[in-house]
Symmetry: C2
Subunit: 164 residues, 2 copies
DNA sequence: CACTATTTAATTGCGCGCAACTTAATTGCG
DNA sequence: CGCAATTAAGTTGCGCGCAATTAAATAGTG
């Protein structure tokens, strides 16, 4: 089937490889550019971008077990444990073993951590301004990215055993 | 101006903070989901995602100085130097001081590195399949992301001194 | 009850990504 | 020419992100 047009197929493969380069770069670059803007804005709060994500969850939901944090952020304990330790060292959160289940660790913002929210309120507008996008465009991007993530996640699961 | 409706403004800020959480998560998650799919696919080539990006440039342009690689990939020597060292240890590239300018280091794929391209040709199609997107949608995403990156980069530069 | 299986955090190891610094070569200016 | 400024790589340090492993607590089963 594919042996019918070896030259054409090869040429198309090469074309796809170039396209791959394009889209890879775009995503990689956009992700890091976003990270860069947040880094600048968050520096005055003394937070890294992933630390900010954790605080966003805590501000919205209050005390949360590490497990739940991981589900919200799609991060495992290998990433969260040291990150939370640093947030605790900075005085922004407290970690306490749950009394009902000694395996679980509850994370809650300290008074200082809660107070930080007031200063964080100005951030989203600055980020929005930096993107140069309208609210509507952001919503659309949001939707697209979520769909993409879902597709990629399910594909990654099916890919593992050795598809094709 | 904004002092006219303090309650309303605060509520809106909170709303924006929730939105920020949404879009932050989306981007962060999408980026890592993409990375995850590539990780699975690239494992059989023995490459990490950033290493694959480097090889894509080398396959397309041949011998390239580290400086140019950095411009293509938006990466500095702090990231590239150890990465290239690993690629060289894997026998995929060679690094040689330029004769014309002893400051510059030329990177070129070895025979083995060039041969790897043949196996890489199948990757883009698998990635495309994983995204569940059409070619047109990919192109549109590509365009949007590039515009976004440009906007963010210029904003980051203007932001640094201490805007507002 | 004893004993295995599961669940939850934490730890270890490695590869980015980036800031800050160092070293060496080249350029440019007086 | 001589010497400061610039440029290119490399190094160091730190914080993710993730795979793999470990340790402890709980749940489930005979």
């Amino acid at each position: 089937m594919t042996t019918e047009v070896p030259q054409g197929a090869a040429a198309q493969d090469a074309e796809w490889l170039r396209l791959d380069r394009q889209i890879c770069f775009s995503l990689h670059a956009a992700s890091r550019a976003f990270n860069g803007v947040y880094r600048v804005v968050l520096k005055e709060l003394g937070l890294t971008y992933p630390q900010y994500l954790v605080m966003l969850v805590l501000w919205e939901h209050g005390e949360t077990p590490v497990k739940k944090l991981g589900e919200h952020l799609r991060l495992d304990s290998g990433t969260l444990s040291p990150l939370l330790k640093r947030l605790e060292a900075a005085g922004l959160v407290r970690r306490e073993r749950s009394m009902r289940d000694e395996r679980s660790v509850e994370v809650r913002p300290t008074e200082q951590g809660t107070a930080l929210r007031a200063r964080a309120l100005r951030i989203p507008r600055r980020i929005m301004a930096a993107t140069g996008l309208t609210l509507e465009e952001v919503h659309e991007l949001h939707t697209r990215l979520d769909r993409l993530t879902t597709a990629l996640d399910t594909a990654a699961l099916e890919e593992t055993p050795g598809c094709e």
